[in-house]
Amino acid sequence: MAKITFLTSDNETIITEATTGNVMELAVQNKVKGIDGDCGGVCSCATCHVHVEPASWDKVGAPSQLESDMLEFDDNVSEFSRLCCQIDVSDAIDGIVLNVAK
């Protein structure tokens, strides 16, 4: 079981728990504002953009090349940007905090 915290641009804190799936699906199930996941998780829409809290970055890790290429054209990209459909839920990411991009 992994605990994942989302902080939205409205300063809402949503704490979720899951064991399987990806983080985008978890956010959509919990109606996290700002995470749409239009493409269902195949990395083609960039509507699940999050900024990982620096303290959580080592747990989450860097994006793949194809994900980086997608983020390259996002205006709000930061060095801690990820598309959360590409982050699998597992014990390894327990406790991470994600800021939902505007």
Binding site: D36, D38, C39, G40, G41, V42, C43, S44, C45, S64, L66, E67, D69, M70, F73, Q86
Partner: protein
């Protein structure tokens, strides 16, 4: 077994040069072919604008048959953002349960209706009614309106043999004018009424702006949805093993939908106009030149997609640009995805296999590029 094979006509020039050329009614179009270049140009709205003369960025150009600006499609940032903010919540309604239930009922009853037929043409007797009926949900207008739209035929703007047909376009424009007047006189909860009561960029939408949104909704989602539906059925008719796999692994359905959309790319390309001199793939362009973002070519780019010319129904990472990319990504994508999701789910439940009896391919003539985009007709028999 090759009716559902759609060749990539752009491969050679994409690899060798990165761009191609075609002529659109006298205007030269530089077609951007590589995935990265397409996304780069789509992202750069300052240099490659959408807000040129109405109709000019469409290929074939509609400049001669349309003077109404399609909104938000032919508007650039920053004005674009506010129009889009008004429209986005409405066009996300397909995610709501009530909408999905209605769409499911529509598609299930259509499938059940055609199952019993000895054979039928998928384009005119299945995809067109499916698209038209589903559009009543998107506009939130009475179901009976679909009959009118079906009677217009598969192309709103095109007739047999001519690229553009002003008479046909006028049928649509006159119809929309009447609907706007009706909604203005007696508002309901349909899209016309909602738009007439909306504000963007600090002022109420004018009737002309409302018309621009509605034309986009009709035109953007017609051929594209019809082709997506028809082409997907051609694929499943030739790949019953994929139907079987989806029955056993329903969790890959979303991957399959995105993959079908990538492979078939129902909208081949969309234009932009340069606001200044620029370079595409080391090819220099003057200001006021037309480029095209060739989504269909980008979606076969082997630098991004392994086995790009195959349909891999469980493709995991699929950064396709079939719904466009960036600011102007397809407003109707949520609706289109729901249609495919419900259609395929229904086929999985109701249909054992599909036999193609006869077909006629629809080949787009893009200068020396010839691209199969769909079918003019696809006669099939459903086995159940």
């Amino acid at each position: 077994m090759n009716k559902s094979n759609f060749q990539d006509p752009f491969e050679k020039e994409r690899i060798e040069k990165g761009f191609g050329k075609m002529n659109d009614q006298g205007e030269e179009v530089t077609m951007v072919l590589g995935h990265k270049d397409v996304r780069r140009c789509a992202h750069n709205a300052k240099t490659y604008q959408s807000g040129a003369a109405p109709g000019r960025i469409v290929i074939p150009s509609e400049e001669n048959i349309r003077d109404i600006r399609q909104i938000p499609f032919e508007v650039d940032p920053p004005l674009h953002a506010d129009y889009r903010a008004v429209l986005d919540p409405w066009f996300k309604r397909p995610l709501e349960e009530e909408y999905t239930t209605k769409l499911k009922n529509q598609i299930q009853s259509l499938v059940k209706e055609v199952l019993k037929r000895e054979s039928l043409d998928i384009v005119s007797e299945f995809a067109l009614p499916l698209q038209s009926r589903a559009l009543t949900l998107l506009l939130n207008t009475p179901y009976s309106q679909a009959e009118t739209w079906i009677s217009w035929g598969t192309h709103v703007f095109r007739s047999e043999g001519t690229a553009l047909d002003a008479d046909k376009a006028n049928i649509l424009y006159d119809y929309i004018d009447k609907e706007i007047e009706r909604a203005s006189a007696a508002p309901t909860d349909d899209l016309y009424s909602v738009l007439l009561a909306s504000e963007a960029n600090g002022k109420k939408l004018t009737k002309k702006e409302v018309k621009g949104v509605i034309i986009l909704t009709f035109a953007g989602g017609r051929d594209t949805v019809i082709n997506a539906v028809t082409n997907s059925i051609s694929y499943f008719s030739e790949h019953p093993e994929s139907l079987e796999r989806l029955r056993n692994e329903p969790e890959i359905l979303n991957n399959t939908i995105e993959e079908l959309i990538r492979y078939f790319s129902p909208l081949t390309q969309m234009g932009r106009i340069t606001t200044e001199a620029s370079n595409v793939c080391e090819h220099s362009l003057k200001a006021d030149s037309k480029i095209s973002l060739c989504w269909a070519s980008a979606n076969r780019d082997a630098n991004v997609f392994e086995n790009a010319n195959e349909i891999v129904i469980d493709r995991k990472i699929n950064p396709h640009v079939a719904f466009g990319f960036g600011t102007h990504n397809c407003l109707g994508a949520t609706h289109a995805r729901q249609i495919l999701k419900i259609l395929i789910s229904t086929l999985l439940e109701e249909v054992k296999s599909i036999d193609i009896i006869d077909y006629k391919e629809n080949i787009e003539d893009l200068g020396h590029f010839k691209r199969k985009v769909g079918f003019d007709s696809l006669h099939v028999k459903f086995n159940y």
